[in-house]
């Protein structure tokens, strides 16, 4: 008996029933809504509703926050799709447009907020950096737990999407607590925090996710 034949016999003998994975769309709809609800609850607990209302009355600021939420949801959907072997790798492009919108509007807003030497001062940006990274940690853990049932052909890609989803929601919470527009240096620090979260998530891909 060849090695492959022997292996087939072993695998067939080990064929216990399995609980089939729900479709990525269904998982995204359920868990995405739950995560958004959880982030909103955290915002409410921290007293951020009033700040969010102020932000939503300013089209430019509202655009930035909506961009962050859309990026998070798009990244989460991409992560769920990419965690199934037969889905197109092009799903990784889904968050690109909302991310460009989010970061583009944010940078534009910050660039116009202050003039002269004040633009180069970090302001509250350092606190925002730590806030985004700290709040992203539990969100990222939650996203990884949700993604582990899948089986990614390229875990790093899935993890990066998960990191972007977590960072987007963390930024949404930040926007409610810190509705004032920062300066250009603040914008750079926000972006740096988001990139750090994505990088950490990618580094945790191998131990954190299931590989197909």
């Amino acid at each position: 008996m060849s090695g492959t034949e022997h292996l087939i016999d072993l695998l067939a003998a080990d064929a216990a029933p399995v609980r089939r994975l729900a479709s990525p769309w269904r998982r995204w709809a359920f868990w995405g809504a739950l995560l958004l609800l959880a982030a909103t609850a955290v915002l409410a607990i921290l007293g951020g509703f009033a700040g969010m209302q102020v932000r939503m009355h300013d089209p430019a600021l509202a655009g930035e926050t909506i961009g962050a939420i859309l990026t998070s949801l798009a990244a989460l959907l991409a992560a769920f799709q990419l965690s199934v072997p037969d889905r197109s790798p092009r799903w990784a492009l889904l968050p690109l447009l909302p991310a460009l919108l989010w970061l583009g509007i944010g940078t534009f807003n910050c660039a116009g907020a202050m003039s002269g030497a004040a633009r180069l001062q970090p302001g509250d940006g350092v606190h925002c950096f730590f806030f985004i990274t700290a709040v992203s940690i539990p969100l990222l853990l939650a996203v990884f737990v949700l993604l582990r049932r899948g089986a990614a052909l390229q875990p790093a890609r899935v993890a990066a999407m998960g990191g972007l989803a977590a960072a987007g929601l963390a930024t949404m919470i930040l926007h409610g607590l810190h509705w004032l527009q920062g300066n250009f240096a603040d914008s750079v620090l926000h972006t740096a925090a988001i990139l750090l979260v994505v990088a950490v998530a990618t580094a945790l891909a191998r131990p954190g996710l299931t590989r197909a």
């Binding site: 695998l11 216990a16 609980r19 089939r20 072997p85």
Partner: protein, 203 residues
Amino acid sequence: MPPAGEVSESGDRGAAWSRWMAAAQGGDGQAYARLLRDIVPFVRAIARRHHSTPDRVEDVVQDTLLSLHRVRHTYDPSRPFPHWLSAIANRRSIDALRRRTRTQANEIDAPLAYETYADPTANREAEAGEASAEIAAALAELSPGQRQALELLKLKELSLREAAAITGQSEGSLKVAVHRAIKTLQARLAETRARQARGEGAA
């Protein structure tokens, strides 16, 4: 996504595979065995795109079957099975290619310098050292899962149950991994011996 034209199994066969896989997900061992035997030529054809030797092709086939087994819960019976299988087989094939490239990049093709002594027992010590280095190199080429299974079951002599508890894998998967690891070691050591014999013959 596999390249266009790669998923070329006929609709009837693909539909049959999908049915058998759905049955296998429900625990039907006979349907599962039938499916696995039927897909082997398909997976071999994918492996042959990247690998030329029969041993390497068969390694990719077995790696693919193991991956399929591990992630069979992710297959959606409403979607084409050949597409799902192709994605896994391609990934395993590329992984094997990368492993081989990394190994070859780290190997230096240089003749071994044998130092021989008048006392035969001194030569045996040198040979034992070389054999140990060969085994260590062969072990390093195993996949992490195979190496871990071998270490736990054969070197640390844990029971299947203990090893399954540590790794989170089923006892069946561990048996399979050890089987594959031993085959790989045998092939690697045979290859090394053959290379040495050719080197000695040329000298």
